[in-house]
Amino acid sequence: MELFKPEVAVANLGPLLAGLLITVELTFAVIVLSLPFALLVALGGMSRIAPLRWVIKGYIETIRGTPLLLQLIYIYYVLPEIGMRLSAFTAGVIGLTLNYSTYISEVYRSGIQAIGRGQHDAAAALGMTHALAMRRIILPQAIRIVIPSLGNYFISLFKDTALCSVVSIQEVVFTAQILAARSFQYFTLYTVVGVMYFAVSFPAARLVGYLERVTRRGYRRQP
């Protein structure tokens, strides 16, 4: 008896690719939202206003101290009980964004703190306010430093979207579950899903490696 059946794979490729598209959409939605949101979290966490810092700290600790799977379930199944009914996709995007933003904010923070005192001094000595120095001098350098780390988090995010199958988002794993429940072709279907994840993650990881080499080269004129 052969385990992998090419004809089953081909027959189910359409729905699985549709699922993969949802996975990719989910990933991009969370990337687009968490990049700015995490920056606000990072800046708020370093604010001179103590109550703001406490709120941010509380949020970060809560998210980090609980599983992502539970957070997704909570947003989709528990919030409706207090009158917040969200579509599955929205719930997934919000859950993943809240979760990943805590980690990405720490990446931003480490990047900002990596910029030396001298840059702050030089900006201040030129009459820049703190906000202007942040925007024009500190953040452009910090963001460049953290691009490779961000890339790695986003690859990990791409794979974590599989958890959204529990809130019935028709992403690729959920799609495979439905197809397998009907046909019992577990081996073939889940193997195809694995190959699909790998086919996206692997080139993405190579791209991050390339970005790492580019950012390490420093600032120079294009040859």
């Binding site: 001298g118 840059q119 001094d121 030089a122 900006a123 201040a124 000595a125 030129l126 009459g127 820049m128 306010t129 703190h130 202007l132 024009r136 001098i137 452009p140 350098q141 460049r144 420093g218 600032y219 120079r220 004129r221």
Partner: protein, 252 residues
């Protein structure tokens, strides 16, 4: 132009500035010399409020800057007001502190455009003139990393000049340079001094102080020990501590 009265500054229990009084007139070049740890750099950093002294006051053009004192209690000026004063006082640092993500041109026009709100083309024209003056006309599109230390420091001087400052503070600007690159930076500073720029220069370059300064200030342990014309400080110092210091640095 710059008046400093009764400045005291502590780092923890260390009394880095112990009652500094100093005034600098427009067009003067005041060189501050002294052993390391004597408070020279801290004094300079207090003048543009990169350090906050515990007590004392600083006046620029007769105006109290950075904070007011009401009944012995200091009330800091707004961040915007502090930034506005800093924009009028240039500073050049030991480690250049150029912005690595901007080209030399970008470094020079950044603050004129975003702080002084000058039009971009006017800022560029002025930057080109300044680069010409510091001998870096061909480096406008280079990034700081591509330049030698001496070139970076000259670019940093051009960056300070682009703000048309009333005075410039030089904080050991040749100390991080290879010996053969020191002269090109000092040459630019001599030229500025001749053009009448008001300069406060913390330096270990005794020849520069002797030849260029209108006045030399000797500091030790957070105090001004002696201040006088350069020929008097270098040839006939009144204080024993000045003599001891000069002997150690000039006998090298």
């Amino acid at each position: 132009m710059i008046e400093i009265e009764g400045l005291h500054k502590y780092f923890g229990t260390l009394h880095v500035l112990d009652g500094i009084d100093l005034s600098v007139a427009a067009g003067e070049v005041v060189c501050i010399i002294g052993p390391s740890g004597s408070g020279k750099s801290t004094l300079l950093r207090c003048i543009n409020h990169l350090e906050t002294p515990e007590t004392g006051r600083i006046l620029i053009d007769g105006q109290r800057v950075y904070r007011d004192e009401v009944g012995g209690i200091f009330r800091a000026h707004s961040n915007r007001a502090i930034a506005a004063v800093r924009a009028q006082v240039g500073m050049v640092f030991q480690h250049f502190n150029l912005f690595p993500h901007l080209t030399v041109m970008g470094n020079i026009i950044e603050a004129p455009i975003h702080v002084l709100r000058r039009p971009k083309d006017a800022a560029r024209r002025r930057a080109t003139e300044l680069l010409e003056m510091v001998g870096l006309a061909d480096k406008a599109t280079s990034y700081p990393e591509e330049l030698s230390g001496g070139q970076q420091q000259r670019a940093a001087i051009a960056r300070a000049l682009a703000m048309d400052p009333k005075a410039i503070l030089f904080d050991e600007v040749t100390s991080a340079l290879d010996p053969e690159l020191v002269a090109e930076v000092l040459a630019v500073m001599r030229r500025l001094a001749r053009q009448g720029m008001t300069m406060l220069v913390v330096t270990h370059e005794m020849n520069f102080a002797r030849q260029v300064a209108s006045r030399v200030v000797f500091m030790d342990h957070g105090k001004i020990v002696e201040e006088d014309a350069p020929e008097r400080i270098f040839c006939a110092p009144r204080e024993q501590r000045t003599r001891d210091f000069l002997r150690t640095v000039l006998d090298r």
